[in-house]
């Protein structure tokens, strides 16, 4: 099946803005959610021309929002345990590793998910994470190394 084309940004924005706002309010409270909301869609807008197709845009923008929420909370309350759950549609090749990614640090997890589950190019991931293409590549690769280690340990236990 051919990947859907990238929709005009207005349509993407109108489709996802309410859900993104709800997620941010839940995590950050009304006041801080407003700043994070604007930054989420500005990041999406910066990365938008680098997208190669219009698939998984919901997961993509929710990942951006979640990462910003994590950053915002971390700035105020260092080393707090965070609820990292956002429902992502499953893809078979990735599903078997998905439960492991929950244990990754947020940036590595986002990079791994966006790269291997959603097939986004590194420059789009970098923009989504507010870093560079190279930083996104490194985060994904560090995440994969960590996952391999975790998987190995799991097998040892079994």
């Amino acid at each position: 099946m051919e990947a859907p084309p990238i929709p005009p940004f207005e349509r993407f924005y109108e489709e996802h803005r309410d859900e993104v706002f709800a997620v941010l309010v839940r995590r950050l409270g009304r006041q801080r959610a407003e700043d994070a909301f604007q930054e989420t869609f500005l990041r999406a807008l910066r990365a938008y021309p680098k997208l190669r197709h219009g698939a998984y845009l919901r997961a993509w923008v929710l990942t951006i929002a979640r990462n910003l929420a994590v950053d915002a909370v971390r700035r105020e309350r260092p080393r707090v345990e965070l609820d990292e759950s956002i429902e992502l549609p499953r893809r078979p090749a990735y599903a078997e590793l998905e439960h492991l990614t929950d244990r990754l640090p947020p940036t590595e997890r986002a990079a791994v998910v966006l790269r291997y589950a959603y097939d986004l190019p590194y420059d789009a991931i970098g923009a989504a994470l507010g870093s560079s293409e190279e930083a996104a590549r490194q985060a994904a690769s560090a995440g994969v190394r960590r996952l391999r280690g975790a998987r190995h340990a799991e097998k040892e236990l079994a």
């Binding site: 005009p8 207005e10 909301f37 869609f41 807008l45 997208l51």
Partner: protein, 184 residues
């Protein structure tokens, strides 16, 4: 949870301030129905009778960062309002025809010189751009005019004076020509 209007507006303003927008658009009411009016940094790039389809076309032609920013199209919309109110006979806004292929662009630029309230035939317009036998191709160029009304393809008619066609429908062509007091 609905995004507050004020927050929505602040995001749009920030997007514009950071120059992250390929195409800004707004909607305008008019006697010929709701119009989508779109601009790039270079100028007015689109007027459409079918706003929804136009959004997709704009994304392909100018880039996917298409965002509703009504203020950016204020100047164009004001000129359109004046035109429809009978207070304006020529448009002053700059246009952006950058994605238009050369032949069509030549036809549209020549078309822009046809004055308010006057008619020209497809053949005559073809002759004016040095392609006297290309009346049919000129018809195609008019049919794909990205900026109707401002680029007045409604003033182009058949050799026998019939209205022939209009991408927005013949009824609109008639309305525009009557508004200009043209002999139809």
């Amino acid at each position: 949870m609905t995004v507050p209007t004020d927050l929505d507006r602040r995001f749009r303003e920030a997007a514009e301030r950071e120059q992250l927008v390929d195409v800004a658009y707004g909607l305008a009411d008019s006697p010929v129905g709701e119009l989508l009016v779109a601009v790039t940094d270079r100028g007015l790039c689109r007027i459409s009778y079918r706003p929804d389809e136009a959004l997709d076309e704009l994304a392909v032609q100018f880039g996917p960062r298409v965002l509703r920013l009504p203020k950016r199209v204020d100047a164009a919309r004001r000129e359109l309002d004046e035109y429809f109110a009978g207070k304006r006979r020529a448009f002053a806004v700059a246009t952006d025809l950058s994605p238009v292929p050369p032949f069509q662009r030549a036809a549209l630029e020549e078309l822009a010189r046809v004055p308010f309230g006057q008619l020209i035939t497809y053949g005559r317009l073809a002759a004016r751009i040095g392609r006297p036998k290309a009346a049919r191709a000129v018809g195609g160029a008019m049919n794909r005019n990205p900026i109707p009304i401002v680029l007045p393809c409604h003033r182009v008619v058949g050799a026998n004076g019939s209205l022939v066609g209009y991408a927005g429908g013949l009824e609109r062509k008639q309305t525009l020509l009557r508004l200009e007091g043209a002999p139809v």
